[in-house]
Amino acid sequence: MGFLQRSANMVTYEWRRALAKKKFYVLVILTLVLQIGLFALFSYFFTNPPPGFVGSPLEEMKASMWLVGVLGLQGLFIPLIAIVIAGGSMSEEYERGTADILLSKPITKMEYMTGKFLGGLSLLGFVIVLITILGTTLAYGLFGPQESIQFVPVIYLVLLYSNLLFFSMTFMFSEVFRRTTLSIMAVIGIFVASLFIGGILSMMHLMTQEQLYLEISKWLPNWSVSNLPSFVASELITAPESPFVSVPGGDIQLAAAIIAVYTIASILIAALKLVRSDVTKRTG
């Protein structure tokens, strides 16, 4: 039995642990209901367009509605699901005292952590698949044939990559604090602060035309997470008139690099903390 098998065993464990939580289902159902609501609103809008909003642009929008389904919830709801999944990943084992049961078995701490991380991430990937399938299906069902649909898998992968940032950050806090509520609150705090500071920096940029404010705002975690999928969609889909992918000046490489930096740093900190400290007894 090697590293992969032992880690894979932990992946299945992590799925069961996360799926046993009611708050996970509540959040996923809420997200899917919101998506349906969003499409219902658009459907109403297209059936009863405001005066002057008819003709060609409306038809082009209809043909790209799958992007609304796939990207529409990225700004807030998918990162929240990532935070909820990762929040208890490490800490719950300490809080409940089950870490002793797991780590007294023939498994290294690295295998344990890898399994937990990949388990949570694959579950997040599954939730994003659900959101993507529902969004694409609704777009087809309500608005007819969709254009550039072949890019759905690429956009899906980019979405998953983008959400690595908050997922791994929460995972790190879950190991460092060893308290689920504290780790979730810490990341939500960072998320909200990042939105707030980003808004102020954008405003200062608009007022002063100073580029530095904009550059600083790019290093806040929200910027890359929210924008990378749209940047990639803009690059892939050659329909510039599409209102959903018109994000000018998107720096894909920078956004991808920022996500990588946050993710790698978070994973390293979590690994160091796990390897270099005692397995604490029940803390909950």
Binding site: M1, R6, N9, R16, R96, T108, D278
Partner: protein
Amino acid sequence: MSPQSVLAVSNLTKFYGDFKALDSVSFAVEKGWIYGYLGPNGAGKTTTIRTMLGLLRPDQGEVQIDGVNPAKNPVHALKSVGYAPELPTLQTFFSGEQLMEFIGKMFGLAAQARKARIKQLLDLVGLKEWGDKKIGKYSKGMVQRLSLALALINDPLVLIMDEPTIGMDPEGTAHFRNLFTSLSKEGKTIFISSHLLDEVQRICTHVGMINKGKMVFNGLITQVLETFTKQWVIEAELKTVTKTMITAIKNLDYVEDVKVDENKLRIELKEKKDLRGEISSEIFKRKGVLLSLNLHKITLEDAYLRALKGDQ
């Protein structure tokens, strides 16, 4: 450490901040032994066990399980270890069978063997009817039984248990006592941390005693009794006790002291000898009517209390 040692702890020291929880603890446990690890609350028993399993990082010293250090190579060292923690908290989202299945996979047991072993162990611990129920519905005693079944899933060479029968009913306690003895006869090494001295005295072959993080005794259970025995005591119950009889017995060369409780005499001897014959002759000589006469050597509890006081 002997080359036959299956479990060897040498010079183990562990600090929690400024508090020295373990102070150069050393002992070795050989194949087939049932080693009782005794100590009062907070003595360092659980810290020793958790360090042995690699859950805690020692500040000094090391542990070897079958020649392998679990902190350095947990996969190799822990594959032949079964561990039942004190008052276990198990994953309540699993059923008993599911958790055993998962832990069996962690040990790399093949599917067929795993299935058979789970069935056998659930039967052994009396949870046959409960295997498919969620652990959240189990009573404390049932969780304890499941924890013992989990500790046995890999047919371990070394079984490490922290207060294994705490919270268990008397029937369960007796059942597991017999189980541990038979496992030891099969050549398995058993390490039991306990404060139930009677249990330890009944099943353990060897004893380690720890107090305030320091080992105060390590050796054969018979040796501990011998080491901490100052005297043997004869208890005599008579129909009536007279002052002359007490004085006469007190004056015997081999008697240290006599304590009286109504018609019972507690005669403390100077030597570790069975002197019941001499005492009964003395009583008959004084026309006493003897109802009972018992020799008390020493209990593990007496030895334990003396060991904690450093009183040899």
